[in-house]
Point group: C2
Chain length 645, copies 2
């Protein structure tokens, strides 16, 4: 049987279908997404929930001209399917394929590459002001989830909606997910709204809104107030949004395509900003995801057995190693508390939270507040552990600066997903955490190389009287051999560990998980009779003076890090070496200094690919490190010959 989806490639194809056909199409798209994600991995539950909304939006609006802004963006699969990218889903999140997030490089229908929460209302505000300024009439639509609307950025933008004197539609995509999980006041408010509305209420609300919509094309003075009054007479208004002066309409059923088409159509003619509150269901239509949306939020490939699905099992990750180490340390030290910003599972906090529910705080998608909460807890004598992904920690940069580093408070940042993250791509890499944090006085930056070191690094951080950030990647921990090579020496502030003593005057200084690559590189070099030293740097700040001394004494240094070259660990090594020139009474004669070469990410955004491929791309795979060592030695030998002539 031919599927409707076979005929639908672009929004214009949608408009050939009846509402009944669109309903069938929605189910086909859900099936398509489930099948695709089972092959490639990706976000599942959130995408299954947004199919009807995406269909109705593209049916009503013309987003070649109109503007659609996604928040977080991982729920945009149906949108991608409907905008000419259906055939590219076989390479979803793969190199050369399409991203799991909106991406203007892929399609004119995508406006911003996003992946962080809370941006849609704020960027839509700017786009609406731009249209207002340009005097153009394109419609602006922003989608925001109930988990994202609690982010400070969303609130700030809502607070400034009064600047907009034209159409701007905000769709609040409310799925029970965040409400179940978070404790925030906004979540409670939305939960109350939900509990006070039966399904019949929701249908009535839809009709009330549609009946009272101002006559199309006739925006008039007072139309908004009349509209709101009429709606208010029929349904209870939202005190929260009303008191912020934001016209609010809803809640309505986000899976009723026919109503959504009418609502979007009617509301597209409003001459003021407004929120339409829609209920959707995460994981809709796929039983395992429906039952367990958290498990199916972002996953690797899985098997579809009839309707059941079993996740393909991964190996032990840095995240798991951290989670277990934290539990162990927390058992021994009552001062240990943990804070996260809606990432308890992703950061390995689940076990800790289960064991110590009173010592675990989840503030929702509010990274800034997570850090300030930790600062307050530290001021009270506790030892807070902040668990936030590297890329989202950028959201709390100023709080790390002022409320933590400037106060020299002993807050421990456990920076998961630092470095290259693989298939999530440029919005999610954690390539800047060393750079933005090593400028902060008092801050200590640690990079454990494996499972044992994670635990030791945590123990060190707990013994340290100031702030410490511990970074580790979204990766499996290296095998036991590497662990052995790290010597299991306890962490000492600013002390590296030499894990392989070579005979040649060349040292590979590896930071964190890159150590495994450095050791493999040394093995490859040994086959070519090059006997390199390998050092586990452990600290990106302070840089070990012994590493600098090595360079001063003539050893050639190659730093390797899973971070941007700009401002990174290698950069810190260069700075420290430069700082030696005028130090003390007399410098060592310059020609005897070793050369310092730094390996890390270059000045461009790294796309979607496997983490392994990305590491090779930036030159920190074993093969690339070995290649660099060889090249350097070749240069040095050439030069020595030239000098001796």
């Amino acid at each position: 049987m031919t599927k409707l989806l076979d005929k639908v490639n672009y929004p214009e194809d949608l408009r050939q279908l009846s509402v009944e056909e669109l309903k069938v199409l929605a189910d086909e798209i859900r099936e398509f997404i489930t099948h695709s994600v089972s092959q490639t991995g990706g976000h599942l539950a959130s995408n299954l929930g947004m199919v009807e909304v995406a269909i109705a939006l593209h049916y009503v609006f013309d987003f070649k001209k109109d503007r659609l802004l996604w928040d977080v963006g991982h729920q945009c699969y149906a949108h991608k399917i409907l905008t000419g990218r259906k055939d590219r889903f076989t390479a979803l999140r793969q190199q050369g394929g399409i991203s799991g997030f909106p991406n203007p490089a892929e399609s004119e229908y995508d406006l911003f590459t996003v992946g962080h929460a809370g941006t849609s209302i704020a960027t839509a505000l700017g786009m609406a002001l731009g249209a207002q300024n340009n005097g153009t009439d394109e419609k602006i639509v922003a989608i925001v989830g109930d988990a994202s609307i609690v982010n400070g950025l969303s609130f700030e933008a809502l607070n400034n909606l009064g600047l907009v004197k034209r159409q701007m539609l905000i769709i609040l995509n409310d799925n029970s997910m965040a409400i179940d999980v978070t404790q925030g006041a906004m979540a409670k408010f939305l939960s109350k709204v939900r509990l006070s509305h039966t399904y019949d209420d929701i249908r009535r609300t839809t009709n009330t809104i549609l009946e009272h919509l101002p006559v199309i094309g006739k925006p008039m003075e007072g139309a908004l107030e009349n509209f709101k009054k009429a709606v208010r007479m029929a349904i209870s208004p939202s005190r929260l949004f009303e008191s912020l002066n934001i016209p609010y309409f809803g809640p309505v059923d986000g899976h009723d395509i026919g109503s959504l088409i009418k609502l979007f159509g009617g509301m597209s003619h409003l001459q003021w900003p407004g929120i339409l509150h829609v209920y959707t269901k995460k994981g809709k239509g796929f039983a395992p995801a429906d039952d367990n949306p958290r498990k199916f939020h972002s996953i690797g490939p899985f098997e579809i057995n009839g309707e059941a699905a079993s996740l393909v099992k991964g190996e032990r990750s840095f995240t798991q190693a951290f989670g277990d180490a934290l539990v162990e340390l927390a058992q021994a030290d009552e001062r240990v508390v943990a804070i996260t910003a809606a990432m308890p599972d992703g950061t390995g906090l689940a076990r800790f939270r289960e064991m110590f529910p009173d010592r675990c705080y989840d503030v929702g998608i509010a990274e800034s507040t997570a850090v300030d909460t930790a600062a307050g807890l530290a001021r009270q004598g506790l030892r807070p552990i902040v668990c936030i992904y590297s890329t989202f920690l950028q959201r709390s940069y100023d709080q790390i600066f002022q409320e933590v580093a400037l106060q020299n408070l002993p807050v421990i940042f456990c920076v998961d997903r630092s470095g290259l993250v693989g298939n999530d791509g440029p919005t999610h890499h954690g390539l800047m955490d060393i750079g933005f944090m090593r400028m902060l006085p008092n801050m200590v930056l640690v990079s454990p190389a494996g499972e044992f070191e994670i635990k030791d690094a945590l123990a060190f951080a707990l013994s340290h009287a100031g702030p410490v950030a511990i970074r580790y990647p979204r990766d499996i921990v290296p095998n036991g051999q590497i662990e052995q090579a790290t010597s299991q020496k306890p962490f000492q502030l600013g002390k590296s560990v030499t894990v392989r003593q070579g005979g040649d005057n060349i040292a590979i200084v590896a930071l964190g998980s890159v150590l495994a690559e450095a050791l493999a590189a040394a093995e490859q070099l040994a086959d070519k009779n090059i006997d390199a030293t390998v050092i586990n740097a452990r600290f990106a700040k302070p840089v070990d003076e012994d590493i600098i001394a090595l360079a001063m004494e003539g050893t050639h240094i190659i730093t390797a890090e899973d971070h941007s070259l700009a401002g990174g660990f290698g950069s810190a090594v260069l700075e420290a070496a430069a700082g030696k020139t005028l130090e003390g009474d007399c410098p060592a004669p310059r020609p005897s200094r070793g050369t310092i070469i730094t390996l890390g990410g270059g000045d461009y955004f790294i796309g979607v690919d496997s983490r392994t491929a990305q590491m090779d791309e930036i030159g920190i795979s074993a093969a690339k490190i070995a290649e660099t060592v060889e090249k350097l030695l070749h240069r040095i030998n050439n030069q020595a010959i030239e000098n001796s002539r």
Copy 2:
């Protein structure tokens, strides 16, 4: 006549006084503050408004044990006067004196060194959770202003108040100031509340709250609901805070000491968090400040002529030069729009706003949203100029990364108060902007050296197809001679300008306003027969390849910048030079490379002092630059002798 203030040094002294005496004391403190600030400069209007609140707080609470958290903190002078620091006001904001912001190094009564907005509720949340965890009963009090409460951080923290199951008092300090100035929904909401309350209403509210306070020491189930119900019957509740489930009480008169003492006393026994809304008047009691609180927000020393005051006039600042350049360019280019986050005066936008009110957006203290609004405007084809101080731009780091740099949108950041800021001290220095922004692909970083260059830099930025940040200090522009020396060459991407060609193989590479110091250093060196080249770097990113080539060819380079050494411009020069080693077919023989020395801020927080003294402290004054050059040449000569042996 002996003043009451002579006898009051610590909170315990307050408790010896009657309410009538406290009223007299309040006037004396206001007089003391006005006199002090007229001598030293500082924040005036906000401090005059907070005298009664500070007195009542210290009268009721014991902040040796209880916890007082300020927001922004520039309104803490009365608090400082009442906590043993009265005599140190002669050195307010001076080296060795007291800071204009709270500072734990000064007093056990200060808990956080703050200066940025929106932190008090979030850190208080952490402290309350800490007390909850520790099972201790200290009272927690957070003060937040009506301008700060709109910051996303404040909202996120309010959204998480449900975590707190104990006392936590938030004092919303509402002065008409922010309401007059900002357009946000929260400001409108507060304004509506204000307009709907007569002075009699406010008095009645105070009495209603006091009458219905639960019996002290008898916290019981349902007490909160009963209390709220009772208060609600008498006064209209705040729908906004109520819908966020936050107990709200007020508004009350923030200058009525007697009532404040009773209110604080009563509310200190509540067993849940709550907001008390107090009205205060900026500039109260000092007519000129009362009439013009914006002018007297943060000022230099002024003269008190009877009750009139005339500000001591400063010279032309980088800020003014920027403001005028912007107006000129905006007249020629309709696409130019400007966005700020409650800093229209401080960033020199006032004239632009007056001339182009429809092209100027002030989003209130919401830096993240300012940047996203700009991103949206840029997506619509406009050329947004974001005007935010360097230190506050840290608040929008993630937005600059994702919504601007990753999209390669042509947003122009005019980063005022970058570098050392003088008397505001460590919370306000802008020493990290190069470091955190040069890691961003697509970002271009420009540092104009003077007035002409600001205009040229802006013109360059408008002609560039991606994001550009232009940084300049809180300082006067250098004199015309320096301007001449910059050659007035138009800006070209990544091109420096040699402003003094020296004969010796040494080059001082100065970034931005440090150029004036570098040229003066070269003059001093010329007197000692050292003929140094001086280069105006202009770009911190991309680094001019010609500068690197100079070093490769044997010229010794000294970089000088008004920025942290870590991750700064000098660091970028070191990285670029290191990157040359393996470039091309064969390297230049290493011994001929020039040495690179970098000058800038070290790894510690720089305290309150004059900007001139701070520049000397970090080695970028003319004298210090010259000294470094001499030292380097001495080393090089010594080494040459050693090598020739």
